[in-house]
Subunit: 90 residues, 4 copies
């Protein structure tokens, strides 16, 4: 059982909003919008991606580490967290 | 006339690939995939986003700064570049 | 009692190495080195900073979260971790 | 002749301030400060590093690209800029 079950609707809404933002960039490219405009939209997608990722990390920490009584399970959740930290801090 | 005209097909292909990756995350959430898996997919989208952004920045620098003979036009393109640098280095 | 006690010599060595790298940048500026060279040195300091930060985060997670049996203490360590994630994912 | 000549005093002051912040982290480690405190100081150094890097990038863009009339020289400065963008957007 994964933690994403509990937060599923909220996370799905964020992913769909992100997809909508990418569709905005697609339309801007088709319409040959100025690239300064495209760059602003890309920065906004990046912010939204970072926010979504921080939320999934926090959920993971809460449900697979903090609230886990079993030490082995907790260390498994922690090892996954460390893998993520290394990926993002490279 | 914007620089995005020349690179349009290539950039559109990258944006669509990114949208496909987000749809993969959507499906993974629906299927209640383990969040370690979701986090890996998010890291991969982040890499693709950064790659796309670097490409748009490079194109902008080339077509609105480097290849511009008119000094005023070049400074306009440069000012937009500086705005982008500030956003990304915050 | 803080976790930094255990890792202290290793972390101090990394901080001192970073200081040495900054002194290199100081000397390069004094010697009026080309700025492409300065930018390369700055990128290298950034990599070292990220590596040090990832290490402190991992140590924190291990010693203030994973190895803590007391639930209240674990949640305190976790809340600090979440604060850090938010700072870095902004 | 490098652009860093003109901005030298300002950049040197920033590098020295950064060194001072690292010395603060060194003292905090020696004094066995809580790691949440160390992490806050690291985040603050990261912010200062990013600010310094953005400034060097902007100076480079201004003096080696925007204000350069000779097209070959401008492309050389631009190629260095693109190298930097790729490093930071990886």
């Amino acid at each position: 059982m994964s933690h994403t079950i509990h937060q599923k609707p909220k996370l799905l809404a964020r992913v769909r909003r992100l997809k909508g933002q990418l569709e905005g960039i697609e339309r801007a490219l088709e319409a040959e919008a100025p690239c300064a405009e495209i760059l602003r939209q890309l920065a906004s997608v990046r912010g939204a991606m970072n926010g979504l990722t921080a939320e999934v990390m926090e959920d993971h920490l809460r449900e697979h580490v903090l609230e886990v009584e079993d030490e082995d399970e907790r260390h498994k959740g922690g090892a996954e967290m460390i893998e993520v930290i290394r990926t993002y801090m490279k």
